[in-house]
Symmetry: D2
Subunit: 361 residues, 4 copies
């Protein structure tokens, strides 16, 4: 069984393991105050061209989301997000557990627009009974989105602008940020992102690290006391050095971007294979997550050899699957998948396939 179900099926990039082994016996102070964290902070600030950012390391995405949002909002405020947002759908109510509602906006493809935010906020403030509803306090987007899509630099700027005009924080969840940076057509690079939001994070877990997210805080108010929040929410690793070491490694010599590119390259090959085989795509993703639509026969056949995600059942015999690549995906494994996709899709498209389909249904 080859795994394409997510981007965390392998361990860590070998250079990270090397760094761990090399530095293992060095003594350091705890809680992210060591020299590896300090060095990683410098490298990330440099990569972002933003010397004033506070950079802190947390162990995972849900933790980073809950910690940042709880630190940013006052009790009566809510986070605005796409209905498909990770914080809305897949964190077991972690944001609500900190006391805050997630107000969702519908989208065709997982991306919200500045116009939607503007309207939601204006509609809140225009309501004479607004005190009976949570006040929007923050806009959350993920880059790339949970649907694999990317925001352009201009779109992010517009979102940031509408946030600033309305007193909201703008937060970019970059759990898979590398795969956006490496996407063809992307024009929102680290230097842009660190100028168009109040806080964002650079995902390590899904992009080559064992675990860890580098939280970058740009807003001055949010910087203050942030480490208390990390500790309170259980995100302060005693041996914080491991987080620093991993990001130091990922940001040396462009490794982060380099390994992200492999994931995107393999994903786009796979995307084209599904398209060539006549499959529609649920989202036209340029990143490492692909969402082809297949029928039950294809799905059953494919999942005998490959682990992919059942994403959504559409009307008719149409199943959206999620196929993920990662920094670790071997080109030969992608090629094998492509070959099988082509073969299986064609088989079940032919008359024989249709007959088989009718027979089994």
């Amino acid at each position: 069984m080859k795994r394409f179900e997510c981007d965390y099926t392998e361990g860590a990039h070998p250079k990270i393991l090397d760094a761990l082994v090399r530095t293992n016996s060095v003594q350091t102070p705890g809680y992210g105050t060591d020299k590896y964290c300090e060095s990683a902070r410098k490298m990330i600030r440099a990569a972002c061209g933003n010397e004033d950012m506070d950079v802190q390391f947390l162990s995972g995405g849900t933790q980073a989301n809950a910690t940042l949002i709880a630190a940013a909002l006052r009790p009566h405020q809510a986070a605005l997000a796409a209905a498909t947002a990770h914080i809305a759908e897949h964190e077991t109510g972690a944001i609500e557990a900190t006391g805050h509602k997630v107000l969702t906006l519908p989208t065709p493809d997982g991306k919200i627009t500045a116009q939607q935010v503007k309207q939601a906020v204006e509609s809140h403030w225009a309501d004479p009974t607004r005190e009976h509803t949570p006040q929007p306090g923050l806009v959350y987007v993920s880059q790339p989105t949970e649907t694999g899509m990317i925001y352009s630099k201009h779109e992010l700027q517009e979102l940031y602008k509408v946030c600033k005009q309305n007193g909201l924080y703008f937060f970019i969840d970059g759990a898979r940020l590398g795969y956006a940076l490496a996407a063809p057509g992307n024009d929102a690079f680290l230097a842009d992102i660190s100028k168009t939001c109040d806080m964002f994070y650079i995902g390590g877990t899904k992009v080559g690290a064992m675990f860890g997210e580098a939280v970058c805080i740009i807003d001055e108010t949010l910087k203050r006391d942030f480490r208390y929040h990390i500790k309170q929410r259980g995100g302060m690793l005693a041996k914080g050095r491991f987080l620093g070491l991993q990001f130091e490694t990922l940001f040396r010599d462009g490794l982060y971007l380099e390994i992200s590119k492999n994931a995107v390259t393999q994903a786009l090959k796979i995307k084209r294979a599904f398209q060539s085989a006549g499959c529609d795509l649920r989202y036209n993703s340029p990143t490492n997550q692909q969402f082809p639509i297949v029928n039950t026969l294809v799905y059953n056949e494919l999942t005998k050899k490959y682990s992919v995600n059942f994403q959504e059942q559409l009307e008719g015999d149409r199943i959206v699957i999620r196929v993920c690549t990662s920094w670790a995906t071997k080109p030969e494994d992608a090629d094998a998948l492509i070959e099988d996709v082509t073969r299986i899709c064609n088989l079940y498209k032919t008359e024989a396939g249709k007959a088989a389909q009718e027979y089994f249904s």
Copy 2:
């Protein structure tokens, strides 16, 4: 500068790094459902002689404490703990952030007694206005305590009994459990602990792992849905395999206990050195944390070469310091510390020392 300030100044046990490197390219499913976690679960269950325990892996102690306590208590309930307990003192209000008060009991040495718990609970239920106060719902102890002390098997049994008689959960924080297991005089082994509480955890972070705590749940009600709580509180690692791998390594061939013994051996050598040099001890700890009392001159001289913790200022010129060893402490480093302790303490005890002391004060 040699570090004796805590038990997480080094990386991980080399066998753990070996295991990481060896298995790095293996593909596994995420979130602790992989084969390494399953194998570690089996080994821990076997070590505890308890096949029915649920074993889950979290990344850190504060996270484990908050997740377990929030999962166990209803909203109006509180945790009973020693005033020196980690959850009362050093977690930035993490328990309160989940909505629960920590009710503290005073202790001479960090250990609470079954009698104290009984009295606190009976006093609550005897109060006709009890609905105006939080209801004790859980007893929390750490083994060893934050003061380095250990509960005997009998003491744990008495605590468990009083909890069960009064409808409370009994929770043992074992962030440093190895150092209790390895302490001379200890008679509460894993098999005992897993029979005298509702939940406990086996600390990895401070005992040889990079990070990670193995949470063991004995109570049937607490087992149900526990993984939702892990996810909600941000403790579910995507690459959960790393937690499984580490505990699999620690529990193979008795490694966990073996490396714990080194810490205790070095700590007790250091303890004897302070005693021989005429220092009182704040707590008579048999584990890896030692709490000698020194004067300012000794403190200043010692901390030029060694990093130790300033723990408490007592009346008079008396400073309690915390000196920690760990699985990684080299005997030669402990010996060097001992030599310096002996020299410095003697120097500042002599007439010359007294004169110097007067001169500087």
Copy 3:
């Protein structure tokens, strides 16, 4: 300006004021342990034909909702409710502030179905990644709904059944319960309701009281310790006697139902007037809230003399307004409104009206 904007524009029923004045100098113990509360409890239990219910008095609806839901759910659980539910829309995130997500179900008219609940719950449990989403723990409905609609006895039974089959609590918010009980066609009476849910409350604030909701708890687990929750959430009135006194008055000689009938009678007269004048209804409500659809000219003209709620802007020049009556609505005020509705609607329906409309638009 005559007020039809809500059902709490007047004070309290005169018999309640009489009772307050009559008993004012009597000394009682506090916090709802007085004889008036005890007597009210008995009368409510008798009215429900349920001697085992626990009855507690809280001061308002949002408080009752948050207190009950927080008492019922474990941290990882969520409340299922209609998208239009009060807890989802108009309580400033009060439920989320206790840590719980509100999972919403779409409805045409504010009423959810047992089938919807079944599907939501089964879909949760069928999801292999369900631990990443909040677990449904409770179903919330309001009777009548925020849209004025009522559940039939059978519908409530089906909802209760599906809850019990799936381990969920079933909670009925009866902030306006009197107006459902008095609705033509209603077949779910107090005796039925107290047999088809785990907890519900009988609204006082909107049905003749100064303030206060009588919370009735049927489920044994929820009864336990409920008063702690009331105190913790700020709902325990020191002079609880006032709550008891009011409900004692409302439940003597059928006053509660009698005054509810007036509200419904007046509301249905008004409903018919809007219908006769050619207005569509957003919801076909048989209770004291009516939702006619008018155009801007009618809206502007009407609101010169009457205070009504702007509820929703539909496409085209169509405004849904909410017109409320209450126990205190005077028939002559309703008649005056009806006359004006008829006049104004007719005016703006005629050719002249259309011309005027075109002119102003």
Copy 4:
């Protein structure tokens, strides 16, 4: 049985009932936006000589405390309070339920000092590991305290100063404020209080109202959005007019102070009777709560006719009781109590009494 157990055993001041009856049929908008609330706001602002205060009405003290503290603190911050503070002792963890720890300071008499606050705050900031402990964010005192004591104007000024110097909010819980204002020797009047804190409230429930606390917010940041918090925490009364009406009545022609004086006069008579009968006082209270120390025989005899509070068991046969008067205490009832206190105490002080005591013990 005459009740001296608390200050909420009677209904409301007759003038309040008059006002309710007089205005009952007037229609008003809801949620505290009516003319009675507006008028009460003006009268309270005038009484405080502070035109800029925001005044909002909540239904009870625990609710006011939790709402204000949760609105003021960021998640990692804690409230500093006396160990005997209501928020620390008698609110079922209501503050913790909003996520915040209450850090307590020991006191001999329920009053904390500016020096204590200074030391607690400086000690926090001096701690290099402060991020592992909650950050003091607010100082809470009650005036009078739970022990009946009052802060002088100077003491409040010092507390406020140390708060402002250290970036903390200063919050005065005035649930019994009238009884401090009316105490002999008091020099902290409304005009002073509204200049020496960021927020305070004027208690109605315990001083003549049916229920209700008038929350006064001086700090600009706290004013913003405060009504959202009231709604979210369940404190926004639909018929808010009742709160306005009550405070309008209490603040007309000095009624609030006048009725408070009666309570204090009666309490001080009772205090002197206990002292004359040889009883020690636990606290030397000048307000409506008195804390004499009696023995078991006196306690048993006294509580046959009078309801008083068992407050604390001291070593030896010494019981601290709490005896409360209120605005409603009749002088003749106080006199009867005094006569019995004198008689009973003398009886059980004589040789016969001692013998009896020995016999029964």
